[in-house]
């Protein structure tokens, strides 16, 4: 299995070495070695319960809030160990943003949703600067034209697809390096999904995106690299085209042809 794990892109930004994750006594991930290329889209695929979301949540230490969760091994962001004692989880999460499965805008105005991150991190000195970040983030998320005249309206009043793009705008407002997306389209209809996928394609120029998805078509459409997980193991990782056309492992073959999963 090791030969499948040592796929090393040239410009690695996030790297996990020998990562084991436990929930209480139950081990969810086994010895994960994964290198994620900068400014690319990496898809994590695999059947339910294979640990792909768990791994995603390791990258910004969202698992910290689950008391029974334990992460062993090392994860580095740009060469720095994210579990090092001098690492501030607050700064880590600013650099590694997250978009969740279900759109989760705050029950605040559209403006305040975007401004939330920059405000808590003290990123702006003036209202004008903040306005600029809000506009830029919304534009980058392809939402500006739809909401520019109702920034003071609640974010929860938008449609599902718009809400998810609002959440993406909110994540990019704090200027992260990496954006983790945990099945960002699973609650959206096909048209909204297509819009978000286009957006992901544009975002990869500036950000590194790691996306967990249940849809193999989605992985094939949006990602450049794909990692296939099965029962807590990283089975295969490589260029998306290779994974889908010439998988090396039988399990990958079975999954992408619909025989397991």
């Amino acid at each position: 299995m090791i030969e499948n794990n040592d796929f090393a892109p040239e410009n690695t930004i996030i790297s996990s070495k020998n990562v084991d994750v436990f929930y209480g006594d139950k081990q969810a991930l086994f010895d994960i070695n994964l290198n994620v290329a900068e400014n690319s889209v990496t898809a994590l695929i695999g059947p339910s319960g294979c640990g792909k979301s768990t791994l995603l949540r390791c990258f910004n230490r969202m698992n910290d809030v689950i008391p029974i969760c334990r992460v062993d091994g090392s994860i580095t962001l740009g060469g720095q160990d994210i579990h090092a004692p001098n690492v501030d989880v607050v700064s880590l999460r600013q650099k590694v943003g997250m978009v969740f499965q279900k759109p989760n805008p705050f029950p605040k105005s559209i403006y305040d949703n975007i401004a939330y991150g920059p405000r808590i991190h003290g990123m702006t000195a003036s209202k004008a600067e903040l306005d600029e970040i809000v506009e830029e983030s919304l534009k980058r998320a392809g939402l500006w034209n739809e909401v520019m005249d109702r920034l003071d309206k609640p974010g929860t009043g938008l449609s599902g697809g718009q809400q998810q793009r609002l959440c993406i705008a909110r994540a990019i407002a704090v200027k992260p390096k990496v954006i983790l997306m945990d099945e960002p389209c699973s609650a959206l209809d096909p048209i909204a999904t297509a819009t978000v996928e286009e957006l992901i394609d544009e975002l990869r120029e500036r950000f590194t995106i790691i996306i967990v998805t249940h849809s193999m078509q989605q992985a094939a459409r949006v990602s450049m690299h794909t990692a296939f997980f099965h029962l807590g193991n990283l089975v295969e990782h490589g260029a998306t085209s290779d994974i889908f056309t010439a998988p090396k492992d039988e399990r990958t073959q079975n999954y992408i042809t619909g025989r397991i999963g």
């Binding site: 910004n60 969202m62 008391p67 999460r93 705050f106 029950p107 991150g117 808590i120």
Partner: protein
């Protein structure tokens, strides 16, 4: 085409017993729920009737806006100087003063302990603290009452003396403080529910953006929970207004119209309790005034409850 024998499919009602039993069960359940409804209706009717008799002797205007309360009535018609006055304002202000003190104690303590329990406490800590806090709600109010009268009130009076204040031994402060402690579990347990009802996805969103726990609580969880918290505070207020035992024992009988918490005041509930304890004639304005007070109290707390339940319900819908 083959036809099946229709005679073999029996869908007629065979046993009468099952149907009858079903009806009996429904009747029993309905009767039980009617008991509560009818009792409420009975209470309101009796209150309204006696209050109506009272308002035949004392005008509604004098009752609602009168500034003096001394419910003495003549025993004999030729008695002099003992026509009572039935202005409810001093009682209402007394009630509000004590309730306000109680809420001033219970709101911060209850709310902050709810935030601690819901967001910070580890599971073992929560398992110990929550039942202990709720134990406060299980203490009989009469116990709170003598605690207020025998411990808190003398303590306040002595402290006051040290600093040169005059605090009467039956002060609004003593009653209000004790009542506040009594209400803490009500506020904390309702607010705890409300805070827990804020979806985890909102916490995730905030933590995912790099917010600390305190920032998340202050800027996301608390604003999202405010309507529910407001509802629970109103419910607690209504409980404070209706509370009787503590004020009977600690607040006194003198109907002073004052906003000074160091003085003795009396409340609507205390007056009702005093007017109706012991042997009373039920045709004098003095006794009947208790019903008018009861009706007034009932209307106030009913309004508060309706408003607060509405707020809490609307809040719940928002996240379902």
């Amino acid at each position: 085409m083959q036809q099946c024998n229709l005679q073999t499919i029996n869908i007629t009602r065979n046993a009468v017993g099952r149907k009858t039993r079903e009806m009996l069960v429904i009747a029993l359940l309905l009767a039980c729920s009617l008991v509560a409804v009818l009792t409420t209706a009975g209470i309101i009717t009796s209150l309204a009737f006696e209050a109506f008799r009272f308002f035949q002797e004392v005008s509604l205007f004098d009752f609602l806006f009168g500034l003096e309360w001394s419910p003495q009535t003549a025993l004999r018609s030729d008695q002099v100087g003992s026509s009572g006055s039935f202005g409810a304002i001093p009682l209402i202000t007394g009630t509000l003063l004590i309730s306000a003190i109680a809420m001033a104690v219970a709101t911060p303590l209850g709310l902050l302990s709810a935030i601690y329990l819901a967001e910070y406490a580890s599971n073992p800590a929560r398992a110990i603290i929550k039942p202990l806090l709720e134990l406060l709600a299980g203490i009989p109010t009469v116990v709170y009452g003598f605690f207020a009268a025998l411990v808190i009130a003398p303590m306040l009076r002595n402290t006051g003396e040290t600093f040169g204040f005059v605090i009467s031994s039956e002060s609004a402060l003593a009653a209000g403080l004790t009542m506040g402690v009594m209400i803490i579990p009500l506020v904390s347990s309702l607010s705890d529910d409300v805070i827990n009802a804020v979806p985890q996805t909102l916490r995730d969103a905030s933590y995912g953006l790099g917010a600390t726990q305190a920032e998340t609580i202050k800027q996301v969880i608390f604003p999202a929970a405010i309507p529910g918290i407001a509802g629970s505070l109103l419910l607690a207020t209504s409980r404070a207004i209706g509370e009787t035992m503590i004020v009977v024992m600690a607040a006194g009988l003198a109907a002073n119209l004052t906003a000074n918490p160091f003085e003795a005041v009396t409340t609507v509930t205390v007056q009702i309790a005093t007017l109706l304890t012991g042997d009373q004639e039920f045709d004098s304005a003095k006794t009947l005034s208790a019903f008018a007070l009861g009706l007034l109290l009932f209307i106030i707390t009913l309004c508060l409850n309706v408003v607060s339940l509405k707020i809490v319900d609307r809040y719940k819908e928002q996240y379902d």
